[in-house]
């Protein structure tokens, strides 16, 4: 694999999975905030569905969107199949329940008094919500990064919705799959290690950036 192709695959991985993690978190974190903040009828069912959704295999999500996006599917007109956008969309649906579940656990960690205290000091519901997020910011970050890790390491969706098209949608994991299919196991391992190194770098960057001086861990 030549350097330029490799760099491109890294870029595709980072872009699609980074976007997927951000967009999924933008939905999942508020959802988790809502769920963690109150008890309502049917909440257990929502949590159960979320927990079950985590078991959706990538191929199934891939198939689902494939049949939506394929030329003769309902959204075929968008021409999104085999694009990075399709990969991102599929990955969002893959990691959503993971980020919801992780964030929910993270937010339950916040003392219930935090919300209440914000309210007593004059905060609106929204502001109080922000406070709860702020109090849990480190474990929430871990939740988002876990979603990112899941997205960047998955191959089924990238394969089915991206198509592993060289120079367009080939990312690190589909490259690994290709090398493995070729019997070039060594290349596969090297690419895998590269993926881990990149993820490590991102984790360090993001975490040290946000952790700040209160040194919480």
């Amino acid at each position: 694999m030549i350097a330029r192709e490799l760099a491109f695959a890294v870029w595709v991985s980072l872009k699609t999975s980074g976007l997927a993690a951000l967009i999924a978190s933008a939905v999942a974190v508020p959802a988790a905030l809502f769920l963690s903040g109150r008890d309502f009828r049917g909440k257990k069912i929502v949590l159960l569905v979320n927990q079950t959704w985590m078991a959706a295999p990538t191929v199934v999500i891939g198939l689902l969107f494939y049949s939506l996006l394929s030329r003769n599917g309902p959204l075929g007109g968008l021409g999104l199949l085999y694009t990075q956008t399709a990969m991102t969309v599929g990955q969002i649906f893959l990691i959503l329940p993971l980020v919801v579940g992780f964030s929910y656990t993270a937010l339950r960690q916040v003392d219930r008094r935090a919300r209440q205290t914000a309210l007593t000091l004059g905060a609106s519901r929204r502001q109080a919500g922000w406070i709860v997020l702020r109090e849990a910011r480190f474990p929430l970050l871990v939740a988002v990064l876990a979603g990112f890790a899941r997205a960047i390491s998955e191959v089924g969706i990238a394969m089915m919705l991206g198509g592993n098209i060289r120079g367009a949608t080939r990312n690190i994991t589909t490259s690994i799959a290709l090398e493995t299919a070729k019997g070039e196991f060594r290349n596969g391992v090297v690419l895998g290690v590269l993926l881990l190194v990149i993820t490590l770098g991102i984790n360090i960057l993001v975490q040290t950036g946000l952790r700040g001086r209160d040194g919480e861990s």
């Binding site: 085999y82 394969m159 592993n164 098209i165 080939r170 490259s175 290709l178 019997g183």
Partner: protein, 265 residues
């Protein structure tokens, strides 16, 4: 190793591990062959379906006792390196070029594969390649060489198996090279039809190779040879020839029994 109680065959002692190219498995042929082989010899056939390249790698690593592949060059390398013995051709089918039903490049009228590819290149129509060093991909590259080189643009590499590559071609209204078995075995490819077939350079030959116990001591050579004998026997050949899979038409042409076709081919 666990098998469910109702699936454990009596006296299931001897097993054979096969590494195979995907088309033989995905069509369902191996299911038929394994059952018959079991009935004949009492040997349980287990197999892993991977690409030709990976199949040979598995064999080199000692994880398979026998391989079924279809990439002449890779096979020769495997034999030269001393890993394989007793290569026998067992079946063939044909490659063909498939493309959009309206055939924008006008390939249908071409008589040879090289001519057809040349048309595609000059018309600017898209072509999807597997790009995975598989048998099909190797053959495709050979054909492009005959046709004077790959196109610069409108040439997509999927790096995936045949089925996935066919789907990409259907989505993108592009041409691609496929083996007949996979194409006819696959459903939902309304967007593609064969546009060039039956040329002699399209022949696709499947071979079985035993792993040499001299090189890989753990290899179960006896069982491998039984399997090879079974495949090349009239019964085995008949099963291959009559197998129809989902497509409702024969997918493989038995070859071992055909006079004059053997190792030398």
């Amino acid at each position: 190793e666990d098998t469910p109680p109702n699936m454990a065959p009596a006296g299931a002692g001897r097993t054979l591990m096969l590494a195979t190219t995907t088309s033989v498995d995905a069509t369902g042929l191996l299911d038929v062959l394994a059952d018959a082989f079991k009935a004949d010899s009492g040997i349980t056939l287990k197999w892993i379906a991977v690409g030709t390249g990976a199949a040979l790698k598995q064999a080199r690593d000692g994880n398979a006792d026998v391989v079924i592949v279809h990439a002449r060059k890779l096979e020769e390398q495997f034999l030269r390196d001393g890993f394989g013995v007793n290569r026998r051709v067992i079946a063939r089918n044909y490659f063909m070029i498939v493309g959009p039903p309206e055939d924008p490049a006008g390939v249908a009228s071409c008589r040879s594969a090289a001519e057809a590819l040349g048309r595609i290149r000059s018309s600017g129509a898209s072509f999807v390649s597997r790009g995975d060093n598989s048998g099909t991909h190797t053959r495709e590259l050979e054909l492009w060489a005959l046709a004077g080189g790959k196109p610069e643009a409108a040439y997509l590499e999927t790096g995936q198996g045949m089925a996935e590559t066919l789907r990409v071609a259907a989505e993108r209204r592009a041409y691609t090279l496929t083996d007949t078995a996979t194409f006819y075995g696959l459903r939902g490819l309304a967007g593609l039809k064969p546009v060039s077939e039956n040329a002699p350079e399209f022949e696709n030959i499947y071979a079985v190779i035993a792993v040499d116990p001299a090189r890989v001591p753990t290899a179960r050579y006896g069982e491998a040879m039984s399997f090879i004998a079974f495949l090349t026997s009239p019964r085995g050949q008949r099963l291959i020839g009559t197998f129809q899979g989902q497509a409702g038409r024969p997918l493989f042409e038995p070859l071992a029994a055909v006079a004059g076709v053997d190792l030398a081919k």
